[in-house]
Symmetry: C2
Subunit: 380 residues, 2 copies
């Protein structure tokens, strides 16, 4: 390894070492280029995420026939991956058509092979996401859905921990507390939905339940953070090409999952299109769009902004449904969102930033965070 | 008014003007003298407060005969004031006996008259506290006890606002958020005790209820902050002498209240010793000790530390009763105290301090706060 260039021991090609300190030179260059284009993208990401997350419950409701789903949930995952692959191909073709003269051709076989080799890391998050789809079902056997939702909130802290380890991100104490408050705020809002009796800390405390919870929380968090790492470490590769690999791997892993189900449950479960309607197609399109938006979050922003964005979306949905359907806002909801807003302000506030120990100036990263802070203040 | 010295328009005596910017020169001198004695006092205040607040519910329980009180609650207030006056006199005599040669004599009539004149402001908090004792009863007619408790939490924010206006204290945004979190944390813990149905924001929303709430929250907050102001502005006067005036005024106002009750309800309510037992005497002694401790908080620390101290005391009581009587800790309690601890850390953390705009250094005040931060970290 010399000057950050590493030789592959198998194919002897020269690779830029994704050294942990600087994720990628191209990404670092990008970090210092703060344009209005970036700001516009951030606004688009958060607003887009809010709209898509907001439509989700409506589409889920419309997809039900007589109060239940007629299709296999596993097929939804596979069809979502296929939709995302399809979208990535279309976008890639559009991007290739608009390439300027002199740019490296996007669709040449050599570009593709080189990118595929460099982005092989994307198989890791794809596998983790596929595993996560199965874990969700297993968790529901151990805990009731409200408890599963509550335990999911722990992901915020695990994601921050993984960002620290994998992406070498530094958080100030106030920012750690802000993340704990985000977790607490969402939990307060969910407290009322816990079944009677479980408000006492009477969670099942068997060793097995602890281990399942740990896996259930760590796998999707690791998937998101590793996805961010993989996308940013090959910053020069087109995001549509990266998406094509990510979703391609995803489709393969989900297909293997379906094959596994066929082996266990018999060939009837192979009929992946069974029970689908126009509404379920919209649901799949929405899922796919959320997945694609996530890639943009991970590559151009980060996993924490994605988490806050989803939380704001949930809050807007809650307020909108209260206004549209005349629900009363519960005390838990009002207290919960107050905590979330304080958390958000503290996390993105320039006051709570980690100062660079060497020279006492704010890190480049902070300039981005300040933008996001302004952006979120603007949205609220 | 010259050099901060003001002439009284009635008696023409020279008074040190309690200019708003510096509450008192003696207090400012005191602020810069940070001794281990001060630290020891802070520890004593918080620990003492925790013990007294912890005993309160036990004494209240012991004071009940067949599940109800046999004595008039108004008499408790009056007897508490009398106890405090008695304590102040005893302490004053003890202090006078230990005076060194050359010190200004504590018990001379001229000292007393001069101090009484300078500390006439203490009549204001004494009147406000007396009014507050009656307001508590009125509030219970409008709201159920759990709602009254919940509304009481708003005092934290009103106190901070009044400290800003009256004491010119500056809080950073993070500190304001910390205070909001303290309010939220206590509320989350109390949510479960709200009667079924009121978890929806279904508080009575009549104009009258709003006005009563505003008065109910503002009067005791103003009493505490004005008390802090009055005690600190005459920093040179012995605290026992100041207490004597404060509780003397208190006893007078409470006695007037009892006279008023006699006029309205007839002479039977004049028998202030009726229905008391050894347990109620202990309860009164506890109330008196809490009152005296408050004076020390207000003069040597501040109202916010007192609020945090009471909250920590409530938390310890909750944990102790769970350990002693085998209660399960509820999810609300665990989430609530997590929020309170984060709030406490953020409020006293040196990170969240208001920086002096002139020269970028921490204010003297902050050195005190840092001490308190260390103290509280030590206690938890």
């Amino acid at each position: 390894m010399k000057n950050g260039i590493m030789e592959c021991s198998v194919c002897h090609s020269k690779l830029v070492s994704p050294s942990a300190k600087t994720i990628s030179r191209a990404y670092d260059r990008h970090k210092s280029r703060i344009s209005s284009k970036q700001r516009a993208l951030n606004v688009f990401l958060v607003v887009g995420d809010c709209v898509l997350v907001g439509f989700q419950p409506i589409l889920v409701y419309m997809s039900k026939v007589d109060g239940k789903f007629n299709f296999s949930p596993i097929s939804v995952n596979f069809l979502t991956e296929i939709t995302k692959v399809f979208f990535a191909i279309v976008m890639l073709l559009l991007q290739a058509r608009h390439q300027k003269v002199g740019e490296k051709p996007l669709l040449s076989i050599s570009t593709f092979v080189q990118a595929a080799r460099n982005n092989v890391l994307l198989a890791v998050p794809a596998l983790l996401y596929a595993i996560n789809n199965y874990l969700k079902f297993i968790m529901q056997l151990y805990f009731n859905p409200a408890t599963v939702k509550m335990l999911s909130n722990l992901k915020v802290l695990v994601i921050a921990l993984l960002l620290k380890v994998i992406m070498k991100r530094r958080f100030s104490i106030i920012q750690w507390e802000a993340l704990a408050l985000l977790l607490i705020g969402i939990s307060v809002n969910q407290l009322r939905s816990l079944p009677e009796g479980t408000t006492a800390l009477g969670l099942p405390v068997t060793m097995g339940a602890y281990i399942y919870t740990l896996i259930f929380v760590t796998v999707p968090s690791l998937a998101s953070v590793y996805n961010e790492y993989a996308l940013k470490s090959q910053y020069d590769t087109s995001i549509y090409l990266q998406n094509l690999f990510l979703y391609g791997y995803g489709a393969i892993f989900n297909f293997l999952g379906i094959l596994g189900t066929v082996v266990v449950k018999g060939p009837s479960s192979f009929d992946i299109l069974q029970g689908h309607s126009k509404a379920t197609m919209l649901l799949i399109a929405n899922n796919a769009a959320q997945g694609i938006l996530s890639s943009f979050f991970f590559k151009y922003a980060d996993t924490i902004l994605k988490k806050y964005s989803s939380t704001v979306a949930t809050i807007f949905t809650g307020i909108a449904s209260a206004v549209l359907f005349g629900h009363t806002l519960t005390m838990n909801f009002v207290i919960g969102i107050s905590i979330v807003f304080i958390s958000m302000h503290q996390f993105f506030s320039p006051l709570s930033k980690v100062k660079d120990e060497q020279n006492g100036v704010l890190e480049l990263h902070d300039v981005h965070d300040k933008q996001r802070y302004l952006l979120i203040s603007l949205l609220i």
